[in-house]
Symmetry: C2
Subunit: 360 residues, 2 copies
Amino acid sequence: MTDAPTTAPVAPAASSTSAGEVLAGYLTAQAGVFLRALPQAVGEAGSRPGALPASAAAADDLLRAVRRVGGALHTFAVAFEPAWARESRAELRWLLNLLASEPAYQRRSARLLAALDSLADPGPDAPGMLAGHAGAPKARALLDRQLTLARTRAHTAVLQELRSARLHALADRMTLLAGEVPLAEGCAGEPAEALLPQAAAALGALAEAAELLPLQRSAVPYGGEGLHRLGSGGTPGAGAARTGADSEAVLAADDEPWLRARILLKRARYALEVCGSPVAGLDELDRVLGRHQEASDAAVTAATAARTPRITPATAYVLGVVHADQRLEVEAARYAFGLQWPVLAPGLGHWEGPPAPRKG
Amino acid sequence: MTDAPTTAPVAPAASSTSAGEVLAGYLTAQAGVFLRALPQAVGEAGSRPGALPASAAAADDLLRAVRRVGGALHTFAVAFEPAWARESRAELRWLLNLLASEPAYQRRSARLLAALDSLADPGPDAPGMLAGHAGAPKARALLDRQLTLARTRAHTAVLQELRSARLHALADRMTLLAGEVPLAEGCAGEPAEALLPQAAAALGALAEAAELLPLQRSAVPYGGEGLHRLGSGGTPGAGAARTGADSEAVLAADDEPWLRARILLKRARYALEVCGSPVAGLDELDRVLGRHQEASDAAVTAATAARTPRITPATAYVLGVVHADQRLEVEAARYAFGLQWPVLAPGLGHWEGPPAPRKG
């Protein structure tokens, strides 16, 4: 059951399909995943500090279910009892932020240390450009220390919330969802096709966000733009954050439209899952934008570590190389997105619903 | 006349073509360029230190002629009086190393400072990833100071040699060449076609060197290999330099086959020029490999500057970014070469000589 959310979308029964049944089927299944994964993911409610995550696989399942329920509640908002849907989404977002943090630091640590080890590899077969550099072990130790600290803090934050009334209330909310979905009046009886415009709107929002991406800038590999000329293009609002001319703000503003596209892409994916019509290309693009975000976050970590007081110049130098290397990964992800998106976009633009839930 | 060496190769007269006439025509013209450019390029023989180069354009002409004469003497070696050709090549190489150094430092300085300015640009339109970074002005001043010093040293070395007997002897040698080329016995009477196997051998040497390049490694843009996994491929001999596991030696060994390919490419270009059959695609590839070498040299300069004692960590960090950025340019050049070479190679492999000097 654990990988059901991504590989086997809950398709509505072909014979008797109302919008309410389609949504209830999807949300019930996801709430079930949530409730099964929760105890394994958080361990025995904080009784053994340090034993978290009790199961990394369960934590993954939990986060996947949280994202899918939240996405469905957002995309098909008009179908639900409004106050309930709004509150549920807020609580799911809270849990997502709480639980996603520790594994994210773990992945970031693995990414940065692997990059550093590879850059500093002195082996005769495949040495890296920092092979044997004196700063490499120091930079590695610094990154490891800072990320372990961040991870420990995230872990502590989870432990503090494990017995909270807030988590228990959310679990109760999901128990309710597993039994009966609080639909808006009149929605239950509507035909499944009533969901299609909302799924199409989710695809439309993604397409709109993708149009705003500076794809032209990363169309030619090694344009060097990613390191040199940021911010030509992107969302209009991103300009405000750049006036400070601080390099971190500049990079954050440059990444912002891509992070937004990632959120909208996930929503579009889940909306198509609800309709029983997943698009494999979107899964791939989601992974590309996931790489984008992880490399972007890792670059910030390297830049932040380089501002640690009293480090040696050799350490700082290595962190500069690592920072640029991660920004190069960001560029690579944008290039990959720019290759794949135009292939996928026309199909999504003319999406008119899945074959399955149609009557006649 | 100044750009004649690259744009208007000395084509042999179509009617009366012996191998000796073809070679003499080419070398006489190049020796003429050399003799006209020399006084302008080196100024008034060191009487005004600091006034060099008296003419950058003349220095360019001089270097171009030196490369072409040296290349022709190498490729068509059997056609010349052996001792004279060997000595001439050695003296031309000496002058090339002496004169090329100062403009190379000037170009490197321009390249690195432009890259740094672009990376640290705080402007709202196109900020770089180091926008507003405290280390950027310091790193700029450091690079500027070190490259100015290197350039001054190169300049002094030129001044010291300007009145040397060695330079005068070389000028005499070129004066002789402008009048009469010392051909090997029996060569003067041979038909122009006798030059074709030697030109074809120069093309073959280039093709062989290009086959050894790890083109597969840079075939996919953003493979990240250039920073992470160097030395998989390349010439077998390059492995020896890597056992020290020093990052500079590693990068040098990684670049070595590319620098060698550049030398062979220039020789092939000049050989085709001698035969009156230049190939435009080779000029473009020469520029690509020129970019490769300049970026590679600039990366070394950034890495060396980062080892300056008592610099701040912020300075070192910025130099790390600049180093990685220049290695990225190296990768970009390899990617460009990998795209263009396979298009050009088949034509060169079946090259059987130019249409012009053929009889019948």
